[in-house]
Amino acid sequence: MSTSFAEYAWLVPVFPLAAFAILTAMGKGARKTGPWIGIIGTLASLVLSLCIAFERMTDNADDYSKSIEWLQVGSLKLSAGFEVTNLTSLMLVVVTLVSFLVNVYSQGYMRDDDRISTFFAYVALFTSSMLGLVLSDNLLTFYIFWELVGVCSFLLVGFWYHKPEAKAAAKKAFIVTRIGDLGLLIALLLLFWYMPDHALDFTTIHNVFSTPGGVISVGITTLIALLIFVGAVGKSGQFPLHTWLPDAMEGPTPISALIHAATMVAAGVFLVARTFPIFEASDAAMTTVAVIGAFTAIFAASIGLAQNDIKRILAYSTVSQLGYMMLALGVGSVSAAMFHLFTHAFFKALLFLGAGSVIHGAHTQDIREMGGLGKTMKITAWTFGIGALALSGIPPFAGFWSKDAILAAALDKNGILFAVGAIAAFFTALYMARLYFLVFAGKPKQDGHAHESPSVMTVPLIVLAILSVVAGFVDTPFKGWLGEWLTGEAPEHHGSGIVMVVSVAVGLLGIYIGWLVYVKGTVRRDAVSSRAPALVRTLERKYYIDELYDLLIVKPLRSFGKALQAFDDYIVDGVVRLAGYSTSALGRLNSRLQSGQVQTYALTALIGIVILALAIAGRRFW
């Protein structure tokens, strides 16, 4: 093949970008056509991505990369380019597919919104940036798109700008992730100055850090790795920068599905995977990643137990699942992480879109106000169920396989990590069961307003549900090729039976308990809250993390700002004013001297000359 699809990979982000440009140019006039433009743009990308992916799967082609000089300063060159590897082609497919489905879904979901064309424009811009991020061949370009997706996320979270909560959430989303971005930026600067030839492209990074006893000392490597990880923590909502992600649910639900479940939040995982050699070169970094990942997994899952907002539960679940991915990376299994990313993208998108459908039908987000929706919203209920099972890690759904891979990798490394993962899996199953049973089972709590969503919304649900079932089979312990395809190494499946058994067991146990509580009613719902109200409240309030940050960071910073402001007003400017005042005071003194009394004038002069003479001549004679 003389030309491959990979050479045209740069077109993948260009389609949605063009859609964005057209939509922006059309402005408000695109209410009808706008969604179609967005859909067509992403569809084109999807098609091209699929072509690229299939090409790579079949040909086993070499990585293809191409870059242009973006900026040259003296002898230093900064370039921009794209690279197609198996990893990126996989991500391309995930992103374009979810994006396409979300586009389709949104056409229905956002139908009544005034600013629907703006919405599609933002989504197109996001898709384009996300694809750019995926395709980037070097860290600088990556960083640029990294920030752009952040902005799109911000724009979309704050899409309903008139809602104060949306405004706050958007702000929070941007600022908290920015903390992570800072880490990435500093890592970028460090890399720039430490890398030979100031190279920033992933290939060189890979080569440099893979070389044992490399040119960069372990200390610096750890520092760089940790800083990159800070970036990933911010973007992927890991503890302690996870707080923005649940709040980001203020955005329209399709956005939650696209950005805050399937794609953008996974960028952190993708980043670590992309720069994995740096982490591998530092044990400390790896341990940190694993610990943070595991902790986040269980921490977020536990919060998820006590939430009542359907989207928030899913959000905490996302955080938790991202923690799993980090855990996988931390224990050294890129393939497991990417596998989970891959499957998670589908079932979490499915769950969110399903939740969107529920909200669309039930007009509320509080699961306590829902119930019995399974009867009126059959498709939604079924697909949501599939998603929930996938998330809970029940075989044969996709989530089972990928979670299993992670747990296996964790067990291989450290028993505690595995235990934590397993407990988190139990929590996951429990809160998903709670969610599902409360929403779809039982009696309807509303006056029958709920109705099934239009097909434009349900079709994507069905597609995603299918994917959630089948996606796991690309890499099962029995027959897997994804790992090898991705990492180029032979799959080393530690898939022991124990792991599988444990993971299925905790999953089922969780569901069973959920069934007991929320369907059967054997256990009273307030069984825990009546015995340990403090615990439940702590969970409900998300361990008071937000309050803690407010107290420890936001308030002191604000006071510090006020103090600095006072310093500026009274000290810095005060000195200036003082200089002014003292000059005019001298002037006033002069006015006082000009009392009208001529004799005083002469006296002043006399004293002046005496002092002058004594001072100047006196030096000589005494």
């Binding site: 000059t583 004038y601 002043t604 002069a605």
Partner: protein, 512 residues
Amino acid sequence: MEHLQTLTWTDAWYLAPEVTLSIATIVLALLDLVLPRRINRDIIGWLTLAGLLASAVFVVWLMFDFKDLEGAAQVHTLVGGSYRIDDFGNLLKLVFIGASAFIVFSSLGTVRDEEIPIKGEFYYLLLPAVLGAMVMSSSGDLITLFVGLELLSITSYILVAARKNASQSSEAAFKYVVTGGVASAFILYGMSFLYGVIGSTNLADIMSGMQGAMESSEALIYVSLFLMTAGFAAKLALAPFHVWASDVYQGAPTPVTAFLAVVAKGAAFAMLYRIFFMFMTYFTLNTDGVMKHDVFLALAVLSAAAMIVGTAGALRQRNVKRLLALSGVANAGILLIPLALDLTRLHSSVFSEFIYYLIAYAVMNIGAFSVLTIVARSAGNETISGFAGLYHRAPWTAAGMTILLCSLAGLPVTGGFFGKLFILFATVQTKTYWLAAILLVTTVVSYAVYFSFIRQMYLRSGEVDSGLRLSWPAAVSIWLCVAGTLVLGFLPKPILEWIDKLFELPFDMLVS
């Protein structure tokens, strides 16, 4: 008796400018007596102007007359050096005559009988005052200098009191008499010591006798210098000898204020330069001792004090005449700087720095006072708020005033800017950085002073809405001043080259 030189008729030629003024004074005095009361005394003013111009013509003629001669013969001394016709004197005379002519011209038509009952005297008494100033710039003998100084001073006392019906005017005059008298006494006392230790009042003799005197009675020379410094500082209104200036300037009729600010001050400088430059040169060439530095330092300190006090004082001042008096204090400090600087190989252009700034100062001050006369008349008071909304009432006058104020503030591109620039460059060349810093800082603070006018003119709206009544001589002189300021700013080169060509330090300044 063989040494006795007497005044010859040839010498009288060289005295032509001075003689012209004397004769004009007498003739006009007589004319004023003879003319009936009903005739407007403006005619005396015009004739005064004519006298001044005639004198100026003679000065110019003398200057060109010297140019025909080659080399060192540029200087003509009369009767043993008691009077000198040199370019230092000639240039300054031109400045004094020119400035006075402007003042007379701009006051023609604005001076009113009810304000100044002795209008005739008011005009022609300017002539002997200018004569005194000319003598001060042109003599080589302490006695002549002193008489010139007193001629100027006493005439000024009378002029200040010219608003006879206003108690302010006579109060100002009395204050001026007292401070002027005491200052004269100090100068005179210093001169007497100088005479005592050297035995002559002739500057050339003093220069040559200095060596011996320094050995025998250095302390007396010191005292003499300090007494004279004090006296001159009072005449020049350098801080802290300046306090009288505001009162006198305020009380005097505005044209007289302008005269005091420009001509009287310039003449005092001329005399100071005449006497002190001799010392400076002497000290520079013959000693490297402490005394040199002491004297330089004393002058520098006075100059700095004047700049600081003048500027700071002006900051709070609302009365324009008092404000301009304080601005004059600061400017006197600046004009003193060239003299207060070390005379080094690199820096000997003392005179061109001085006279360039003096010309600029004269032009902008006279312009400003002319505007003030008109504005104050229209507003009914002399406070700064009288300028409020001037831009709306008389945009062109406001624009002219703005240029004058920019020049006073030393902003480019005006005469004041280049004047200050040259002086500043001199301070840098002699490495007197502290003085340079004070000059710069006070200049900047003075922005606030001068821009307070601009604020009034442009940013405020005044109570009076009617236009400004401008007599044509006033208008012409204001615009000539503005033009002069701009010419000095845009074309400093020809002026400075001309001065440079004319002026030779050893002949024109050093008396030998």
